[in-house]
Symmetry: C4
Subunit: 198 residues, 4 copies
């Protein structure tokens, strides 16, 4: 079975999950009409906006990874689709864990839930990638050895980094948030994978 | 009329319904900063998360069945589309009945509503399948006799099993929940239908 | 410009609007574990479920009409797209007016808002149809005279019927709800338009 | 990499964002059954409905601009996609800032947030356009000099106008709202860009 419909489902899920991140932002309540009243209301909303931006970019990066996967994999089967459903199950939880982090920004348990959620997204996509790339008849383009090696690093980098962030959160929760901000930026840098794509 | 647009509508509805399952999760409220406080808050959320996971996988399986149907059926007409709308009407109720089950997990009436909703999803899709496969000009590939036979079983298995779950729920509601957990796993096992797909 | 992207936007908007109808259903609260408690809770929810079903089928029919339009129209331009945006603006209000009707089922003002919303959906789509079919270079198939005539009737039938329903609502609001239930069924009947479609 | 999947993600995000505008409308509460009671309830909802209509049309125009961009740009790369994610991040905030404006219609701070949000949508799309059009291998059609010139004006017009609206809001907030209503209409007028499209 060709992968077109699964990609369409995935694009749909990503677009809904990304848009839903914004519904869950709590509206700031401004008491008064002065600059200071507005600033005070906004200062209550900063953590929601920050978490929104981090999660939106992280989901954008995951969508990009998911999209790149289908540059190599062109066929699906029952197991590949169910690994995909597991991945989407984790992706759809991101608005939930983002809201949890926004409400409890500097608490270890929110950092734990958020880090765990993002790591499980990466790991389920990694399983799908490993399954798909090990079945030659599902590929529509050969995968260069370099891409395979780099992909392992890209898939495992963020779970490792997020595990460190969770560990640090018991002592310096602000450092964990900084790690959540920096990690997506690392993924935005040029990558060896790019030159293999048409 | 070719079926492409109806498939696109279906993919859209499934992706929204799946994502919405997660919006309706109630955020755990953690009072305190200790492990025990977090565990206590999570213990209140277990039923929501469990129902989320069951429903997500069930919707994934239904999407898969719906997608497989269009491997055989390539044309649509007025009646086929309206049977599809009925199916989507049942699918869109799944987030509602999931929320109802999450709030009343061990009550017979929530198990009744949830089991009824999932059964109606299967039965409306079954009607669409029966209608579509009985009109030869709507097929773009012949349906092997084996696939027809196996499809009957697959469509009717879960309504029967869910009826049993509802019956049991008056005495042992936990057993009904276990049935809801196990049934999707049965659908994930290899099936005779697979070998007929390209 | 080919119409593919506009159709994709439309399919997305319809699938979200249809799914959202179900989010807005209020969860019944069952006090007790007896059949009578469940029935009592459900009796409070009947209007929500009824309005959900009516609106879902009406949106399904509108999607079908919108889809049939693109069997004839294959090109778009600035004005055609903006008429489409107006139509989508009315479609996206359907979950809102459905919720309003569910909360005030037998009140003339809810019937007025709901009937007005559905009529405006039909009328904006009619404008788009009139604009598109009057520009020959936008068609990719000639429109038979019969289809043109029948289309006028189909587009104008429901605004007229809904105007009657609104008029009746001041005296017999139940009759208006019955009209809302029957009208979609009329659209499900075989139509002269069908034989012209491939 | 061809741009099809990015366009699908964009269409999904726009359709969800547009539909969500309507979820956030507060249901009017009518106390009584007289015309005056209904009018009174509606008069409380006018700002919500007005903001809904403005934002829906603005998003429709942005979708149109985004769609036109892909008439020229047919390939994507890592940076183009991430500029796209930034644009979508701003688009998804529109329901949020619309709700904020609906709740605080005549307050400078709501006009500031709304104007800033819409301007950032335009500016991020402008960045994506500038990036894409400066890489010749990403184009699948040459861009006429006239289109390039006109595009600069169209992208920068609304940020400039919205900056003026924000400036005025400290003295005559009603004038700012009028500007928000008029600006989309300007974009609906025929444009030099149209004649270059097939």
């Amino acid at each position: 079975m060709v992968s077109g419909r699964l990609e369409a489902l995935g694009d749909g899920i990503f677009s809904v999950a990304m848009t839903i991140l914004a519904i869950e932002l709590v509206l700031p309540v401004v008491n008064g009409n002065k600059w200071i009243d507005f600033m005070h209301a906004m200062s209550q909303s900063w953590s929601g906006l920050l978490c929104y931006m981090i999660s939106f970019i992280v989901l954008g990066i995951m969508w990009f990874g998911h999209r790149m996967m289908f540059e190599y994999i062109g066929k699906t089967n029952r197991y590949f689709i169910f690994l995909g459903v597991l991945f989407y199950m984790m992706v759809c939880l991101v608005p939930f864990s983002t809201r949890f982090l926004a409400n409890n920004t500097l608490h270890w348990f929110a950092i734990l839930v958020y880090g765990l959620n993002l790591s499980l997204c990466n790991l389920t996509l990694y399983c799908q990638w490993l399954y798909g790339t090990s079945r030659l008849h599902m590929l529509h383009r050969e995968i260069p050895a370099d891409v395979k090696k780099e992909a392992h690093i890209q898939f495992l980098l963020s779970p490792v980094v997020y595990a460190i962030a969770v560990g640090i959160s018991f002592f310096y929760p602000i450092a964990s948030i900084v790690i959540f901000i920096i990690t997506p930026i690392v993924y935005l840098l040029p990558s060896k994978l790019d030159k293999y794509l048409p």
